[in-house]
C-alpha cells in the first residue's frame, strides 16, 4: 500500500490529525503509567506474610479493670481456646502481621555500637508462635520451654535483661545484619546483653509496613505476658465462623468482665490493611477504561467526518479502479500512521510522567515492557474505532464522482 497519497491528504488536514495524535500521546502516557501503578499496588497487596493466613484467626480482648496475674490469665485463656473443637493450636502474641500497631526496636550487632544497624519489629512470643503461625523454619530451632521469660522481669526499673537470651529472626533480617553470613548463633543487642539467634524463618511480615523495603525485618523473642497480648488460633481449613463465636463465648466464660474487641481472620486483616491499594488500583482501571472510551469515540467522530467530507474523492478513486478493499485499507493505514505518531510521542511523555512520579511518590522506574503494552492497546483501539467509518467509506459508490452537489 502506497502511503504517499495518505501523507499528502493528511497535510491538508493537519490540525485534526495532530489533535488525534496528541490525544493518543496523552492517553498512551497516562495508560502506561496507570498500568504500572496498578501492577505495583496489586503486588503490594499480595505481599507475602510468611504465615498460614488461610488457617488463622486473631482474637483481641480488652479487660475492664486491673489484672491480678496476667500470665496465669493468659495460660488459662490459651488452655480454654485450645479445648475448642477444630482448633489445632493457639499462640499468645502482642502483635500480628497486618494488625497495625507494633513494637519496634533498633538492633545492634555489638554491645558498644553507637548506631543501630536496622529497625526491626519485635514479636513477643508468649508460646506457640512458630507452630501456630505456620512459619517455615529454615535453620535452627523453635524456642525451648526454659527460654521463655516474663515481660515484667525484663521491662521494669530493676528488670534483668540478661534473662532474654534467644531470638528467632527472618532470613531477610539476618541478611541485613550479617550480609552473606549464617546468622545462627550470632548475637543481636537490644540493650547491653547479647541475644543469640537460635532460629531463622523464611518470612514474617511486620504488623505495620511504613516502608515496603523494610517489610520483612522481624524478630521473635520468647517473652510471655506482654502488654496488648492477643490470641491467634490455627483452625485448619474448616469454616472459622463457628470457632470464632465459640472462642468469644469461652473467653467471656473464663472472665466475664471483659470486652472482645476484635475477631478477624487473617484474610480480613490483609484485606483491610491493603484496602487503600486495591481501591486505588480499581480507580486506575476505571481511568484507563474511561480514557480508552473517550479516545475511541473521538476517533470515530473525526473519522466519520473525514469519510463524509471525502465522499467525492472516494467516489473518484473508486471510479478510477480502486477496489473497496483499497478504500478500507486507505482509512486503516491513515489511522495507523496517526496513532503511531501519537504513540511515539506518548512514549517520551510516559517516561517523563514516570520520572515525576518517582520523585514524588517513591515509585520504581517504569519497566520498559509497559511501553509496548500501551502501544499495542492504542493501535488496537485505533483500528477498532476506525473500522465503522472505514466500512462506510467502502460503501461509497463510484457514481458519486459523477454527481455534482
Amino acid at each position: 500500500m502506497d502511503i504517499q497519497p495518505i501523507l499528502k491528504t493528511l497535510r491538508h488536514q493537519k490540525t485534526a490529525a495532530l489533535l488525534i495524535a496528541f490525544e493518543i500521546a496523552l492517553s498512551c502516557a497516562i495508560i502506561c503509567n496507570a498500568l504500572f501503578l496498578i501492577a505495583h499496588r496489586l503486588d503490594r497487596s499480595n505481599m507475602p506474610s510468611g504465615v498460614a493466613e488461610a488457617e488463622l484467626v486473631r482474637i483481641q480482648v480488652g479487660s475492664i479493670g486491673e489484672q491480678d496475674d496476667d500470665n496465669a490469665r493468659i495460660d488459662e485463656d490459651v488452655a480454654g481456646l485450645r479445648g475448642i473443637p477444630g482448633v489445632v493450636s493457639v499462640a499468645a502474641v502482642q502483635q500480628v502481621p497486618f494488625g497495625g500497631s507494633s513494637w519496634n526496636s533498633g538492633l545492634r550487632i555489638a554491645p558498644e555500637q553507637k548506631n543501630s544497624v536496622v529497625n526491626a519489629t519485635s514479636y513477643f512470643d508468649g508460646g506457640g508462635v512458630v507452630r501456630t503461625f505456620g512459619l517455615e523454619l529454615l535453620a535452627g530451632r523453635d524456642f525451648t520451654a526454659d527460654e521463655y521469660v516474663d515481660f515484667d522481669t525484663l521491662f521494669s526499673a530493676n528488670g534483668d535483661q540478661s534473662r532474654l537470651s534467644s531470638a528467632i529472626i527472618t532470613r531477610s533480617l539476618g541478611e541485613k545484619l550479617w550480609p552473606g553470613e549464617n546468622p545462627l548463633g550470632k548475637a543481636i543487642y537490644l540493650g547491653k546483653e547479647p541475644i543469640r539467634v537460635v532460629g531463622v524463618v523464611a518470612a514474617l511480615v511486620r504488623p505495620s509496613i511504613f516502608d515496603d523495603s523494610l517489610a520483612g525485618y522481624s524478630a521473635i523473642y520468647p517473652v510471655r505476658g506482654a502488654q496488648y497480648t492477643q490470641y491467634v488460633l490455627r483452625v485448619g481449613d474448616g469454616s472459622s465462623d463457628a470457632i470464632i463465636e465459640q472462642a468469644a463465648v469461652t473467653l467471656r466464660e473464663l472472665q466475664p468482665n471483659r470486652i472482645v474487641l476484635n475477631t478477624d481472620t487473617f484474610t480480613e486483616l490483609r484485606e483491610e490493611y491493603f484496602q487503600q491499594d486495591r481501591v486505588m488500583a480499581g480507580l486506575l482501571v476505571a481511568v484507563i477504561a474511561a480514557l480508552l472510551t473517550v479516545t475511541a469515540l473521538g476517533i470515530v467522530g473525526l473519522a466519520s467526518f473525514w469519510v463524509q467530507r471525502r465522499q467525492r474523492q472516494i467516489g473518484i478513486r473508486r471510479a478510477l479502479g480502486a477496489t473497496r478493499g483499497n478504500v478500507l485499507r486507505y482509512f486503516q493505514t491513515e489511522n495507523f500512521l496517526i496513532v503511531t505518531a501519537g504513540i511515539a510521542a506518548g512514549m517520551f511523555a510516559a517516561y517523563a510522567i514516570n520520572r515525576w512520579l518517582m520523585q514524588h511518590y517513591e515509585l520504581p522506574p517504569l519497566p520498559l515492557h509497559y511501553l509496548p503494552i500501551g502501544a499495542f492497546a492504542l493501535w488496537a483501539l485505533g483500528q477498532l474505532a476506525v473500522l465503522a467509518p472505514a466500512l462506510r467509506a467502502m460503501q461509497v459508490p463510484p457514481a458519486v464522482a459523477t454527481r455534482s452537489v
Binding site: 479493670g65 474487641l261 480514557l291 479516545t295 473521538g298
Partner: protein
C-alpha cells in the same frame, strides 16, 4: 445578534446530535472526575480551626541521647512527660495543653446497655479554651483539678445522649474501667478536620468521646493510644515509661497571639534545651521547632499521597477530554464550511463567525457543566462509601459548585478556540467555488 447565534447553535445541535452529545459527554466526564478529586483534596487540606490556626503552635525538642544521632535530623514528633510538664508549668504561652489519646471500657449504669469501649483524650485544662471547644453544659476543669489529679471528665454530646439520654448531666458519675469520674462538662458537636492536635490516632478521626485530666489517667494506668518512642538502655515497664524522661509520647500545643510572643517562645525553647544539655540530660545539639498549625499539618503530610495522585490523574483525563472535544468541534465546525462561506459572502465578518462558534462551544460547556456536576455528586457519593476515615467529609460546597461551572466553561471555550479560528478562516470564494 445573540439570538441569531443561539438559533444557529440550536440548529447545529439538531443536525448533528451524536457529535454534540459526544462533546458534552467528554466535557462532563472530565469535569465530573476533576471536581470529585478536587473536592476531596479541598476537604482534606482544609483548616481545622480557621479562626485560630495562625496563633496555635506545636513545639518540638530533641531530648534523645547521642546513640543513633544523625546530624540534620528533625526532632521527635512528641514530647516526654518530663519536658511536656516543664513547658506546661513554665506557663510562657497565652495558653498551653499537654495531651495523648487513650481508651477505656465504659460501664454504664443504664439498664440494658453493655459495657463498651470509648475513645478518650487525656489532657490538661487549657485544651478546651485553646481549641475553642463548644460546651453544651458545665465547663472545662481548671488547673487546680489538674494539679490535684482529680477524677473529672468532660464528655461529648454523643456520649451524653447514649449514656445519660441527653440533658444536663454535670455532677453525675461516669465509670471508666474500674474508676468513677465526675462529669464537669458536656460538649456540643465538635469535629475539627483534620484531627490536627493528635495525628497518631488517624488523620481524619472523629474527636474523642470523653476528656480526662492527663495525670489522673496516668495514675490509674488507663489504656493509651498512639505511638511512643523510647531511647536509652533503661528497661522500663509500660507504667514506668509514661513519666519517664526517655519516652516521648505526648503532644503539646501552645497559643501565642503575636509574632513577638512567638519569637519569645522560640527563644524560651532554645534556653530550655540549652539548660537541659548543661544538666547532662539532653546529649544532642539543641534542635527545637515551633511550627504553626498549618505548617505542622503540612510537615506531617496529612493529606494522603493517593488523593493528590488522583487529582493529577483526573486533570490528565480532563486534558484528554479537552483535546478530544477540540477535535470533534473542529469536525463539526468545518462540516459547516459551506454555511460559513455563504454567511461570509453575505457580509458576516470573521469576528462574528468566530463569536458565533465560540458561543456554540460555550453552550456545549454549559451543558457539560450540568452533566459534570451530576457526575461529581455521584463520584462523591461513591467516595463516601469508601472505608476511609475522611469518607463522611466528602461533600460538594458552594465554592466547588462554582468551580465546576467555571472550569467547564473555560474548558469548553479553550477547546472551541482553535476550531472557531479555523472556521472563521474558511475562504468563502474558494469554498463556494468547490461546492
Amino acid at each position: 445578534m445573540l439570538h441569531y447565534y443561539v438559533w444557529l447553535a440550536a440548529r447545529s445541535v439538531r443536525r448533528n446530535p451524536a457529535l454534540t452529545a459526544l462533546m458534552v459527554l467528554a466535557i462532563g466526564i472530565g469535569i465530573g472526575a476533576s471536581i470529585t478529586t478536587l473536592t476531596v483534596l479541598r476537604v482534606l487540606s482544609g483548616d481545622p480551626l480557621p479562626q485560630k490556626s495562625d496563633v496555635l503552635f506545636y513545639p518540638q525538642l530533641d531530648p534523645q541521647d547521642s546513640n543513633d544521632y544523625r546530624p540534620g535530623e528533625e526532632p521527635p514528633n512528641q514530647l516526654t512527660y518530663v519536658d511536656a510538664m516543664s513547658l506546661l508549668n513554665a506557663n510562657r504561652a497565652d495558653r498551653q495543653a499537654v495531651m495523648s489519646g487513650g481508651a477505656a471500657a465504659l460501664v454504664p449504669d443504664k439498664q440494658g446497655l453493655d459495657p463498651f469501649a470509648v475513645d478518650l483524650r487525656y489532657t490538661t485544662a487549657d485544651f478546651f479554651a485553646m481549641f475553642e471547644v463548644p460546651f453544651l453544659h458545665g465547663s472545662p476543669w481548671s488547673a487546680t483539678e489538674d494539679a490535684a489529679h482529680e477524677r473529672v471528665v468532660v464528655i461529648s454530646r454523643e456520649l451524653n445522649d447514649k449514656v445519660f439520654d441527653g440533658g444536663d448531666s454535670v455532677g453525675r458519675m461516669l465509670r471508666l474501667d474500674d474508676h468513677d469520674f465526675r462529669v464537669v462538662g458536656v460538649l456540643d458537636a465538635w469535629r475539627p478536620n483534620p484531627h490536627f492536635y493528635d495525628l497518631n490516632t488517624g488523620n481524619y478521626d472523629d474527636s474523642e468521646d470523653a476528656f480526662v485530666p492527663l495525670d489522673s489517667a496516668i495514675d490509674l494506668g488507663m489504656g493509651r493510644h498512639g505511638s511512643m518512642d523510647c531511647f536509652g538502655d533503661e528497661p522500663l515497664s509500660p507504667d514506668e515509661t509514661l513519666r519517664s524522661p526517655t519516652c516521648s509520647w505526648l503532644q503539646f500545643w501552645v497559643e501565642l497571639a503575636t509574632p513577638e510572643k512567638q519569637q519569645a517562645y522560640e527563644n524560651f525553647l532554645v534556653a530550655y534545651s540549652e539548660e537541659q544539655r548543661a544538666l547532662g540530660r539532653f546529649e544532642r545539639p539543641t534542635n527545637v521547632r515551633l511550627r504553626g498549625l498549618m505548617e505542622w499539618l503540612d510537615y506531617q503530610k496529612v493529606v494522603p499521597g493517593d488523593v493528590r495522585l488522583q487529582v493529577w490523574m483526573s486533570f490528565g483525563f480532563l486534558l484528554v477530554c479537552l483535546v478530544n472535544t477540540t477535535g470533534l468541534m473542529l469536525a463539526k465546525f468545518l462540516g459547516r464550511s459551506s454555511e460559513i462561506a455563504v454567511r461570509r459572502a453575505l457580509g458576516a465578518t470573521r469576528r462574528s463567525i468566530f463569536a458565533q462558534f465560540l458561543l456554540e462551544a460555550g453552550a456545549v460547556g454549559a451543558v457539560g457543566a450540568v452533566l459534570g456536576l451530576a457526575l461529581a455528586l455521584a463520584g462523591l457519593a461513591a467516595v463516601r462509601l469508601q472505608p476511609v476515615d475522611y469518607a463522611e467529609l466528602a461533600h460538594l460546597d458552594v465554592w466547588m459548585f462554582g468551580a465546576a461551572l467555571a472550569m467547564a466553561l473555560v474548558a469548553s471555550l479553550l477547546a472551541g478556540l482553535l476550531p472557531a479560528w479555523q472556521a472563521c478562516s474558511v475562504a468563502p470564494a474558494l469554498q463556494l467555488k468547490s461546492e
